[in-house]
Symmetry: C2
Subunit: 444 residues, 2 copies
């Protein structure tokens, strides 16, 4: 059993509902859409991510013998149900907004059209995957916006919520425009560029800081970044200058130093001066330590001479907004539109499409949420077909393609939406009259 692709990554109620659907012959076509109800605090847009993992999950859906045996042994389900699960594959269609695309509340980023049991079972894991990657891509895009031209590296694995979160956070931030990650497994399994320097323990394990620096540089003669804040950052910068002169004779370059604590603005300026005066103009300064897009914004505004940033906990937990109000809702069953009308949680019925309109400067002007086949002349439909009869319609998109899309989407954002704080005016998402009318008809 590969735990990460198991169909038992679901809520018990999905299985209890499936059992009832089978028992009552409810296997007609259902349409579910995945969307975010509203923006969290401090967010003016969201960036879609996680589709690739979602499609993988759907394409490989099947119950293993071990899983079927376990289901059969629970007191809840009978042998008939286990037989149905054994045959179960995902054979439906999927429409989605491509990864790296910017989207807004109420806009579906994924639509699943399948038999009711198939579409129901996968709800929990589809949200679990797409919610998290979208959360982190959205968070990462904010650092990308405030730090153009800087190296941005995901340092977050240790405080990510489990291993999968660490790996998917590396992917989502890379999609959004990060330079790479420190998480080795994300490099191995997904080919994301890896970055790494040294830790305080390396310095502390030596009796002399300079010896620690020298040994590390000797081990990596062509690319070495030395961590200089273990004891006294300014003193360590002076040691680097001394050391670099000696190392140069052996063809060894100190390519960078890292600051991880203290007043990063002041220290970066002091260290830059020391390095420059010592002739180390090419030695870059990398900063880390409780950084997020707010602090990076301030450091850049203060002209701190920092070339790159390692961003950890705040990125991978999306600390100022650790979840999105992401849901997956039934919009149609057996050919009839459906909706819930619970207070504060009412949904728009039917199969929907999002059309995007651009202004004269080729920036996003507004979106229209409407029914799938409603006309929208001159607008760009965001949802496209990605899976048919349970098979992907094309190979997985490359990171190059997704990252270019993300960059181009960020460039098309209206300026007001690029701010780190909540914008005065939300981006316009208009609900088309035809959709309002359908909802109204269903209400009455």
């Amino acid at each position: 059993m590969n735990l990460l692709s198991s169909p038992l990554l679901t809520d018990l109620y999905q299985l209890t509902m499936l059992n009832a659907y089978f028992a009552h012959g409810m296997q007609e076509t259902a349409v579910f859409e995945l969307f975010v109800r509203k923006l969290p605090p401090n967010r003016n847009f969201m960036m879609a991510a996680g589709l690739e993992q979602a499609l993988d999950f759907l394409e490989n859906l099947r119950f293993s013998p071990d899983e079927l045996e376990w289901v059969g042994k629970t007191a809840i389900f009978g042998a008939d149900f286990v037989e149905q699960l054994e045959k179960m594959r995902f054979t439906g269609d999927v429409q989605a907004i491509p990864e790296g695309t910017i989207f807004f509340p109420e806009e579906p980023i994924l639509r699943v059209t399948a038999t009711l049991p198939e579409a129901q079972l996968v709800e929990s894991r589809l949200i679990n995957l797409m919610h998290f990657e979208t959360l982190v891509a959205t968070k990462a895009a904010r650092s990308v916006l405030v730090a153009p031209g800087k190296t941005l590296v995901d340092f977050g694995f240790r405080r990510a919520h489990g291993a999968e979160a660490g790996i998917l956070a590396a992917r989502a931030s890379y999609i959004a425009g990060f330079t790479g990650t420190a998480t080795v497994m994300a490099g191995k399994t997904m080919g994301i560029p890896l970055f790494g320097t040294m830790a305080h323990s390396f310095v502390e394990a030596h009796d002399d800081e300079s010896i620690a620096f020298a040994r590390f540089a000797q081990t990596y003669p062509h690319r070495t970044t030395l961590l200089i804040d273990t004891y006294d950052t300014v003193a360590a910068a002076r040691k680097i200058v001394e050391l670099a002169a000696r190392l140069r004779e052996n063809g060894i370059r100190v390519t960078g130093v890292r600051l991880d604590s203290g007043n990063l603005e002041g220290l970066a300026k002091d260290v830059r001066k020391i390095l420059d005066e010592g002739g180390l103009h090419d030695t870059s300064i990398f900063a880390s330590g409780n950084l997020d897009e707010y602090r990076i914004h301030d450091l850049i505004a203060a002209a701190a001479p920092i070339d790159g940033f390692g961003i950890g906990t705040s990125l991978v937990t999306s600390a100022d907004a650790p979840f999105l109000d992401a849901v997956y809702k039934l919009e149609e069953y057996a050919g009839k539109p459906r909706r819930k009308s619970s207070p504060g949680k009412a949904t728009w019925p039917g199969r929907k499409q999002v059309y995007r309109y651009y202004d004269e400067a080729a920036r996003f002007d507004h979106d229209v949420l409407t029914l799938e086949h409603a006309p929208a002349p001159g607008a760009e439909p965001l949802l496209v077909a990605v899976m048919s009869n349970g098979r992907r319609l094309a190979a997985a998109e490359s990171f190059r393609v997704i990252r270019e899309r993300a960059a181009s989407q960020l460039a098309c954002l209206p300026d007001g939406l690029k701010a780190l704080e909540t914008a005065d005016a939300h981006y316009g998402v208009q609900v088309a009259p035809v959709l309002c009318k359908l909802a109204e008809e269903m209400r009455s």
Copy 2:
């Protein structure tokens, strides 16, 4: 390759440091301790969890042929390093605070004593596992404290940060005193009790809500909880009373209803009244929908007749405090104590122990952080040996044992620390003079 146990669940700098350690013969004994620097907002204590997964990781540490091949193909490492990794196992000792124990900032919850490379490599994953489970156990304990006698169920999988987070959150909240989880995989792999009802989609897929209720009840005649807020909660409660009378003739009982939106206090009171007037005194009311310990506290204070709560997103993301300042620091190498003195991040050197003192009412009075073998007459040492030479000293603790410990720890908390808001006075953690003296000696 089992992704979740891979030694490549680490940061690149651990590998680059290991390579340098091997190159310079630095394989003497290192001591690292894992602790949390400070309490996050709204927390007065923390509850340790995740040790079981951490020990599993250590006991099974080895590089697979596929992983070794990948390391060899990176441009960074040579064949010598790959040979070293191939031989690598975790052969060290581990001391830890047992799961379910309450602890405070600066107190080590795990100590690793091993060769420097072994102890270094595992840093990232040890924090990744123990940080998250401790985070969620701590969050869950707050709901347990405010809702004595209530059924508490983890509903969070879909918005957990990936699959492993969903499963480990189910474990951590169960340790803290939750009744169970909706996450099927946590039931299958860890034996945590599973709970589940029905979703709105089940109701919506029927043209008539009463038919949906009847079908679900017929499928689960002895234990059925019906979701009644899809359209109009009060009207649905009346339908339940009507339906229950008919079902009873066939031996079918409606054991519970679930509310998931709206004014839960008012609705619970209305629904309770309708159920009682309809003779359904035994039908319980279960509530969910953006719940956390603050809302549960208020609902209980308002005497809302709710028997159980499903808690999702806020629990599994620890939404009001989505991370802890958890670190793993070198405290000794080659027989000499070590410490970093970076501003705001200085550490206490040496192998430490935490002693807990109780007051006359058998409540926690204060703790003392001191060196391992310093005497502390009449106090309880919290760190105990759990692994020696890379092997566990005892079988994994059962949930029964851990849950009893957690309950007893919560009962011993001073009242002021049980509040949901930050207490006026922090719990006392005294640093023993012998430890202050050692740190001072190292400073000078």
